[in-house]
Symmetry: C2
Subunit: 424 residues, 2 copies
């Protein structure tokens, strides 16, 4: 360790996609090689606070008082900043997050009868229907079983509905896209449970019911994919689920719409047809352009959004790093393209670690010339799905529906650098 190999510094370590020369040439702040740097140095020596012993060790580490980061409770589309008691969801602050993981307390929340506080000691899961033997499991039973962990996104099927019919100009990306988050989830493989209770091989659907006041219940098709990837989840990001996310137990089905991932899971019933609960005959159907309703559109499609710069931010002329998130219920993200000229031309963005059915961070480098323009991203997944532009999406789906909006998100930038939500 005392003698590292010679000649390994600087010149061999090229940053990806952006050279030092280019960064220095374009960075708006003129951070290096300038008189400003010298004055900043002097300033830094004067301004550094005196060194004193800091706060003592603690049982949990809190956020800095200088960090302002929180979800926003909302009610129906277009009703923002509502009384929390009237809110039906609480959205993730995508514009303030980095990387791919969402902190547990900032994972988006959507429920139909608020958040029950369930005692895990009395909670039970009934498994019945087309099974060899019905059983009732308690949480100790479930935690004693084999478990798996997986990083994956969860998304409310209503994510993006802000922009389905009109584009409010005063929204942030938290308002437009804040109903998607990514966690490491831990739980018992659904396949293990199916084997344990001896599900009849003629069973093709499973009813999952929640223990909240609304008793949300959904029919889940028993496809190979769902059997292989589904889990009875009790952990999020290493810790027990939080009540807002289903404590002590929820269904987790990577890639499928949020409401199918039943929270406060109390019952699984196996059958040979869908159970046609009101949640799938009325609530979560899609009204098509021709007036017919579409049922069981369950998978979340390929999607992406630029999170910085994004709605209500202001940028400066010169260098700007563009970054955002892409995800798909079909598998891995393989490509994200960015346009800085209103979808006329596209450049491929750099991708971070791309896990299947997980949010993937992308970034790109841009020199803004100060002219009004529009920026937009589009993603492609490993199944070959390409995120549609809005005109294509609307031509295909009409404007009667509310769910599974995955059109490209455009941000307009005016001459002052103000970034605003637009339809394009």
């Amino acid at each position: 360790m005392m003698k590292p190999t010679q000649g390994q510094t600087g010149s061999q370590a090229r940053p990806q996609g952006l050279s030092r020369r280019r960064f220095l040439a374009v960075s708006a702040g003129g951070i290096a090689g300038s008189a400003a740097a010298e004055s900043a140095l002097a300033e830094s020596l004067a301004d550094v606070p005196p060194r004193e012993p800091g706060d003592p060790m603690s049982a949990t580490s809190a956020r800095s008082k200088y960090v302002d980061i929180a979800r926003v409770p909302e009610s129906t589309p277009g009703h923002r900043n509502v009384d929390p008691a009237e809110a039906i969801n609480s959205k993730t602050p995508l514009q303030k997050l980095v990387g791919s993981i969402t902190p547990s307390d900032l994972h988006y929340e959507r429920s139909h009868a608020g958040v029950p506080e369930i005692d895990p000691a009395v909670h039970r899961l009934l498994v019945h229907g087309m099974v060899r033997r019905q059983i009732v499991l308690n949480m100790d039973d479930i935690r004693a079983m084999p478990s798996v962990s997986r990083v994956a996104f969860l998304e409310c099927t209503g994510n993006g509905w802000e922009n389905w019919k009109s584009a409010p100009s005063d929204v942030t990306v938290q308002n437009t896209h804040g109903l998607v988050s990514t966690h490491e989830w831990t739980g018992v493989p659904l396949s293990f449970l199916i084997d344990l209770v001896g599900v009849d091989r003629n069973s093709t659907w499973m009813l999952a019911e929640g223990g909240d006041g609304a008793a949300v219940a959904r029919s889940v098709p028993l496809t190979d994919e769902i059997i292989a990837e589904g889990m009875l989840a009790y952990g999020q990001n290493g810790e027990p689920l939080r009540p807002a996310h289903g404590f002590p137990l929820r269904l987790f089905l990577p890639g499928f719409e949020g409401n199918l991932n039943i929270k406060w899971l109390r019952r699984l019933k196996f059958g040979d047809r869908p159970f046609m609960t009101r949640w799938e005959t009325a609530r979560y159907t899609q009204l098509q352009a021709d007036g017919h309703a579409r049922q069981f559109q369950l998978r979340q499609d390929v999607n992406s959004v630029i999170t910085s710069p994004s709605g209500m931010m202001r940028i400066a002329k010169g260098y700007n790093r563009l970054t955002g998130l892409a995800w798909s219920g079909h598998g891995r993200i393989v490509r994200v393209e960015i346009s800085t000229d209103g979808a006329a031309t596209w450049q491929e963005a750099e991708l971070g670690t791309a896990l299947p059915k997980a949010q993937t961070r992308f970034q790109s480098h841009w020199v803004w010339d100060g002219q009004p323009t529009r920026i937009v991203s589009r993603s492609t997944d490993e199944a070959g799905n390409i995120q549609p532009d809005r005109a294509t999406f609307i031509a295909r789906t009409g404007t009667n529906a509310l769910f599974h909006y995955n059109a490209q998100q455009t941000w307009a930038i005016d001459a002052e650098g103000n970034v605003r939500n637009v339809l394009a």
Copy 2:
């Protein structure tokens, strides 16, 4: 979606490593196919709380009141449950975590002058020494630069010192191994900064200095690996660093001892030799068996521990899931073996996702016959390093040192099922 392919249920979905038959045969609770299951069903219908609207949406989701999970502040080895004001670290509750990610507020903490609360608006990073141009960066400069995210462990070099010389029998795995955690870290690649300031190609070391009262400062060798993997980190698990973990900026060097990952980073100086701070001439040297001190033993070695069952738990006769964590500063974990007969025989455990230099979850299935025994794990990394047993470790290092303890951890189980820490 309405017609899933037929014949995909149950029988094709074999759980790994543990069949239904075996689980039913051995599970201690007798959870299925028994009279107990029927009575539990009746109980569940009576006990489920009435369905009422739950709590409203919130800005951040809190933990359940039924979940008891926290770090423990400690002082020097053997001094547990101390006044937090006297604590020098706070340890992660490994026995209560699932998966691989550590929640941000439960990441272990170790500092030398408490936790400073630094205003990011006045924080500066000075970069100087053998560079083409010294610069001073503010946090806006740093956040505007290209960034990377990576899941990796961080470990205090003192982790495990509880067991170096003696084995207190009343400790948990939080006491013995709680100075290691795993996060998704986000920041600017060290390689980008090196290129930006034009580090002299004859520079082989870098001094990193923290902004806390203790001004911890360490010399970092500029190896290919450190240049390629090091980062100036400002994010943990998607959010800004917390003050206890270096807000607003820390050095992060995957695989290298915790104190090298300077928190509250305020200065980087490039040179052509180690800077010989007191932290490396006195504090973090290793006293060898022959009385000489070893400097710059920087890499964390291959390690593992069974987290459940572990110290101070009690198990029942019959089926027990064994689970734990393995990690190595050399790269990926490729194998974990478990012995349930005091290291006489070994079985390979199932591994979860094994990322390089990240904690990797393992599990195994065991039927305890009620006889006193000892359980132990040993891990192997991709570089071929095998975690040593304690006798081998002590023979190699003696008992004068305090750091880089990575010997196998043995838990003794008595006839009543009590699990206790022992040296073996």
